[in-house]
């Protein structure tokens, strides 16, 4: 089960599996983000290109207004996916 939950301090906490079947639901949540925020991956187990596309489209939209997503607490498998996709060059990852 995937979820994206807004928390205090401009944090979006992801959990579960962010696969292609979750894109619509996730996009609706990320469309609410209108300023820079931190995305916490601590409880996210998995991500595919579907999940990456949501993050990419959000980053593009925010960057036009001078804002950005920052990412933290990725597991090593998800971090590898970001590296393979070259997303470590377009997201700041803690």
């Amino acid at each position: 089960m995937f979820s994206a939950e807004f928390r205090e301090g401009d944090v979006v906490a992801l959990s579960g599996r962010f696969d292609a079947s979750q894109v619509e639901k996730a996009q609706a949540e990320f469309d609410k983000v209108d300023k820079s925020c931190m995305v916490d991956f601590e409880n996210l187990e998995y991500i595919s290109s579907g999940g990456l596309s949501v993050l990419l489209s959000t980053q593009k939209r925010l960057s036009e207004a001078g804002h950005k997503l920052k990412l933290k607490n990725m597991n090593k498998h998800i971090r590898e996916v970001f590296q393979y996709a070259g997303f470590d060059m377009i997201f700041e990852i803690e």
Partner: protein, 137 residues
């Protein structure tokens, strides 16, 4: 082992369960399971999205022989689409030039050691080979 899955995105949960069962039975590591799940998801989703008018189900096969893992996805009554000849995704492009999409096939190529594509009698079959002894992929 092999199983048929409905041609719809909602089938992903059942596919991940199938992969987990296979991994548990065959002692496949967590890291390899992650990559296997990602490669299968990307190919399955491509078939669901692009093989419009194809058969109602997609067949997924998993087989382990020694340190070699073979995955196959077979889709019937479809037009050919050879993913091995798909355009390369440029991972060096800046944010404003990154396309939304086209990343799936690129990731599949990074997850496995070898990809074969066969098309015969309007049937597409993609076979992935993964060397479980290779820690780099």
């Amino acid at each position: 082992m092999e199983r048929r899955f409905k041609r719809k995105m909602d089938a992903l949960d059942d596919i991940f369960t199938f992969i987990s069962e296979f991994g548990a039975e065959n002692g496949v590591s967590e890291g390899h399971m992650f990559k296997l799940s990602l490669a299968i998801e990307e190919l399955f989703v491509n078939m669901v999205r692009h093989n419009v008018g194809g058969g109602r189900e997609i067949l997924i096969g998993l087989e382990k022989a020694g340190e070699s893992l073979t995955v196959s996805l077979t889709d019937s009554d479809v037009e050919p689409f050879d993913i091995t000849e798909a355009d390369e995704y440029d991972t060096g492009r800046p944010l404003n030039e990154r396309p939304i999409g086209r990343l799936g096939v690129h990731l599949v190529k990074r997850m496995v050691d070898k990809i074969n594509y066969e098309y015969k009698n309007r049937q597409s079959k993609i076979t992935l080979i993964k060397d479980l002894g290779n820690a780099n992929v």
